[in-house]
Amino acid sequence: MSSTSLHIGISGVNAARRAMEVISENIANVNTDGYSRRRVEQAVMGRLAPMPAEVPREIEAGVKVTGVTRLRDGVLDNAYRSQAAGVSGAQLRSEIAARAEEVMGPLDSGVQDALGAFWASWERLSAAPQDLAARQEVLSSGERLATSLRAASQQLHALQNLISNRGADVVGQINTYADQLAKLNGQIGDAVFRGAAPNDLLDQRDVLLDKIARLTTITTSQGKDGVTNVYVGSFPLVDGITAQEIVVPQTGGPVWGINGYPVDLSGELAAVHEGQTVTLPAIQASLDEIASALRTVVNSQHAAGTDLENNPGGDFFVGTTAADIQVNTALTPAQVAAGQSSAPADNRNALLMARLGGQEIPGVGTVDRLTATLAGRLGESAAATEQMSRVLTSSLATLQDQRESHMGVNLDEELSDLIRYQRAYEASARVMQVADEMLDRLINRTGV
């Protein structure tokens, strides 16, 4: 009887010590990324005493630690992983839209402003056609307009490069994470096979899964021996201990290295692809359209006029796209065709030039409207994608909070648990002491 108490006491002491170790680990990892708090699972250690068979009686003989559990909610994990890619995709889209908006330049000195200034300079020239300075101003404000279009085109090009680099980075990261996950699967499989609970490895695996899920939408399935298989679309990215590589060819979207099939795009990959193939080319096309419309209307009206040297106006703008448009450098101020004759006072063509912004090109529209439409479209898309990204980000943050609320460590809670187990430890130790004293009385004082 007393020796049973001694046994129970020691089991209590052991269990309490194990629990305090786990608590220490929790406290130590309070700030570790992806750490899920552990809890000691304990159960009554019951056994049947070897008593006469007619009176079977259970003797409760202490406590045992049945395991250390990671506290995580798999449902929330899956929910987080299915949303994360969409959110980072939306964030990247918003980033691209914000950069694209900058292409048009600041409100008070960008493409639109330069265009307005260009028309106004013709208007001023019409009031002083004999003035070489006013003619020079028309040339300079034309060049300012052309420069701002070229700058827009260059910025757009830089943005293209930036996005394709980003795409390559994303693919590189996915490949790295997939490799790490395949290795981890091997280690987890070994540990499970040996019968160990590889909690730390499982934490690492969950961190990796979160990271991949932020880049592209994945589905997961549990394989044998605790390994996790990861699928992108229906294709296995990680199957047990093998990872498939994604490669980015010179042209086109990312494909699977093993068979060259295109990868199902989602998350950042989809945002990159959309930016490369839809958003930016559309902006480039609009800029080119503006440049070409501008060149067409200005050059044809300029050719209809006559310069001071009694020649018809030469090409005012040269170049075919927004990337290479510029004011004809051969044009001198005297060769600006302000009139319909070579008379210095003739301003008839300048009056017409000043109105070209509103001149309708069949099937295209007016230069002013094209420019305003592009600026509006870029601004509205930047505002809309930012709004979208903000909404999605905050809904993901709510999910993350819920997840953290299951797996995160609360120091106050751990401290109060620490005291609880400390008390249990002290009490069990006391039980041992009492049992010891009882044995002492039995052995040393009985029948003396």
């Binding site: 409100l107 106004a120 208007e123 001023r124 006072a345 509006g376 870029l378 930047a382 609320s405 401290l415």
Partner: protein
């Protein structure tokens, strides 16, 4: 009840600080720059309207410049036409005096000399330039040419136009051919003011009183042309003045409207700043207090 892990609590406090700090910075930026909109996406509709107003303002400024130039041109014509009119009055007096003096037989020579001087003055008035441009000669350099008293028309009849509002284009020169009588009705230009003076002069010199008197009707006809040209100049000056006032008002109005769209309402922005400051300070106070509290403080 939801568990709140220590780290989450810490992060959410940090986030609250960041959010409030960002709000404070934005309020400060708005006050410091005075701008509510910096890019289209800040407020797409307002920004695009502001851009339109910016373009309108540029054009309105150009209209003011055009109106100023036009008014100066018209003022030069007004002065020249007034002088021409007084010269013609003097010419008429001399012709009347000369034709009666022919009977008394003296002074014709002096009158002829004065008439010739007046004709030359008239020539230089016809060739008046403003800012290098002949105001009666159309696009041409000079309206008339004087070769030894024989004056011929060298200008053209082109109209010099100024756009003074989006709808209004005003001619700012005067057709010298009409004013000085080189009109199409007289292909040889025989009734032009210079020929009339020359003929009156010759008649007076020759003692032909009837011949001199016959030119009085022509002089009156030229005077009528001058007066109507003056009326037209005056009318156009009024028109341009009105348009100029309108354009200047427009510049101010466009700027005010744009400012309403783009600029920060200082009063509201100041209130916002105070608000943001208070919120930020409150957050800091709460964070400082919360971070001091821990179960550790109460464990012995």
């Amino acid at each position: 009840m939801t568990r709140i892990p220590t780290r989450t609590a810490h992060e959410s406090m940090q986030q609250a600080m960041e959010v409030n700090f960002a709000r404070l910075t934005e309020a400060q930026r708005q006050l410091a720059t005075g701008k509510r909109i910096n890019k289209v996406s800040d407020a797409p509709t307002d920004a695009l309207n502001a851009n339109r107003l910016r373009d309108q303002e540029k054009l309105a400024r150009a209209y003011v410049t055009a109106a100023d130039d036009g008014m100066a041109m018209l003022a030069a014509q007004d002065a020249a036409l007034q002088s021409a009119s007084s010269i013609l009055i003097r010419v008429r007096e001399l012709v009347v005096a000369g034709s009666s003096d022919i009977e008394s037989g003296n002074g014709q020579q002096a009158i002829a000399v004065e008439l010739s001087g007046l004709r030359d003055q008239m020539v230089s008035l016809a060739n008046t330039t403003h800012d290098g441009r002949a105001i009666f000669g159309g696009f041409g350099g000079a309206a008339v040419e004087n070769t030894g008293g024989m004056v011929t028309w060298t200008g053209d009849e082109e109209s010099i136009d100024r756009r003074v509002s989006s709808e209004l284009v005003v001619s700012v020169n005067t057709n010298g051919r009409q004013v000085f009588g080189f009109n199409a009705g007289n292909p040889a230009g025989s009734d032009n003011v210079f020929a009339v003076i020359n003929r009156a002069m010759a008649a007076i010199e020759a003692g032909n009183a009837d011949g001199a008197r016959a030119e009085l009707a022509n002089i009156d006809a030229r005077q009528t042309d001058l007066t109507s040209a003056l009326g037209s100049v005056g009318g156009r000056v009024n028109q341009i003045e009105l348009a100029r006032t309108q354009a200047e008002d427009d510049v101010a109005a466009y700027r005010t409207s744009r400012s309403l769209l783009e600029d920060v309402d200082m009063g509201a922005a100041t209130v916002d700043l105070k608000d943001a400051e208070a919120a930020y300070e409150a957050t800091l106070a709460v964070v400082a207090r919360m971070q001091r509290v821990s179960l550790l403080d109460f464990l012995q």
